[in-house]
Symmetry: C2
Subunit: 270 residues, 2 copies
């Protein structure tokens, strides 16, 4: 069977002791270890494929406690509490007996209610009108996405331009090759923004996500309706101080509906 590289990378085997076994995938390699978004997706997948799972993803927090080494890992996923319409999971990813990530997820059964949106997408050209741009970075994972930057595109490997007044990036985004959107892919997309400090300072500095939380607003039907078309993605840093910054992100469908909001805290040096 020929799997999409996303599905290949998040595949897990359940062992007799209840732990899941997975492995890092070279197509998702980052500077050190895999792209954080694929690690978020595989942690969510451990709860998603569990036969005890109730409903669909509502919230996911992943704490990146240590760099992953290339190779195998185990995931322990526990349903900490199951209610009538929500279920709380905790997960731990280990390599060589040491915890590399902790995570928690809430799953929920959604139901029709009064609804409204306040975080509206910026006014942008249609995806087809914005050319895709490949990353100049010598790592594998950016090639897993088609990225059409409206604002705040890749900075050059040797960039040392004038610092920007803000750290915003805004882009049309989808899996490459295209893959119909689901909550697992959305969990990975939410980490797609290179560290906002690169954008703000127009240069590279060692940086890595420490913790990331994503809130999901779209159910399976809404994600299926979005299909494999590009989503609009925006991220911006909020404060950079003391070696850490936070960034807020949003992902909208091409109908303008907010699919997910996300926040992460990122380590940086210098």
């Amino acid at each position: 069977m020929h799997l999409h590289p996303f599905d290949d990378a998040i595949a897990l085997q359940r062992r007799d002791d209840g732990l899941y076994e997975g492995r890092t995938h070279p197509a998702w390699a980052n500077m050190v270890g895999p792209y954080g978004g694929i690690t978020a997706a595989v942690l969510l997948n451990a709860a998603w494929i569990d036969t005890r799972r109730l409903g669909e993803p509502l919230s996911l927090t992943v704490n990146f406690a240590a760099p992953l080494a290339d190779g195998e890992f185990t995931i322990e996923a526990r349903a900490a509490r199951t209610n009538r319409t929500t279920q709380h999971w905790t997960m731990a990813l280990r390599q060589a007996g040491e915890v590399a990530c902790t995570a928690s997820a809430v799953f929920a059964i959604r139901r029709p209610t009064w609804s409204a949106a306040e975080l509206h997408p910026p006014d942008v050209p249609a995806a087809e009108a914005v050319p895709p741009v490949a990353s100049p970075a010598p790592v594998a994972w950016p090639a897993r996405y088609e990225m059409r930057f409206v604002r705040g595109g890749w900075i050059g490997r040797d960039s040392a331009g004038e610092p920007c007044d803000d750290s915003e990036s805004l882009l049309w985004l989808r899996d490459d090759p295209p893959r119909p959107l689901d909550a697992l892919a959305l969990a990975a997309l939410a980490d797609v923004f290179y560290p906002r400090i690169f954008r703000r300072r127009q240069r590279f500095t060692p940086a890595g996500t420490v913790s990331m939380t994503t809130c999901f607003h779209a159910d399976a039907a809404a994600l299926a309706a979005q299909g494999a078309r590009p989503v609009l993605a925006r991220a911006q840093g909020q404060r950079f101080v003391g070696g850490f910054f936070d960034q807020a992100a949003a992902l909208w469908g091409d109908d303008g509906q907010l699919l997910a909001s996300s926040q992460q805290v990122v380590y940086y040096r210098e």
Copy 2:
């Protein structure tokens, strides 16, 4: 010893088996169980007071898995991974053997780096120029805070006004009685905003926080400099759909520095 009601409510006793024992405090009672912010603070406190703790709070996620009953609880806090400058904790709060909350926290040692802010405070009158307003709600916890609303104040118990176009609240805020700010108090302040759906619809509906994540930007020295003076607090909903909404919040010192950013997902009915 006469403790401030905040310190009284987050007090924990370490048992021989390593678990911490605490109890809900009537001064922090909400409709059902305690105010979520005090629960967030007591979970953070379990890691904070641990002799193995490294550095200061950087990020905290609390998942509210079930309503707390009034009375005793235990907290299990584990240092999942300790690095040179960061430490990852996981916590679980239990009552009668059942998990009521799961949580994770990252602690970090900050160091001088390049710094900048992008999420600036709105232009508002000074705290002294805005009168404090008591909550009309028949619950105890709002009296633990002095709230001076610039925008989006309390709605009446029987309010059924015209729905608002947005769900923003903006207020000057501090503990009542005043208490010098620290990370534990800040963790509680970040949950102070009544559910954004009340504001947007100008009426009550059953609602409760499901998961909350706060990123801390201020170290102990910066928090001590803020002291017991009011902080500026802002929250707004992002999308309300399918029985859940997310809200983004920010808390600034009176010098305009971002002290914390926070995101939460909230259940609502109707």
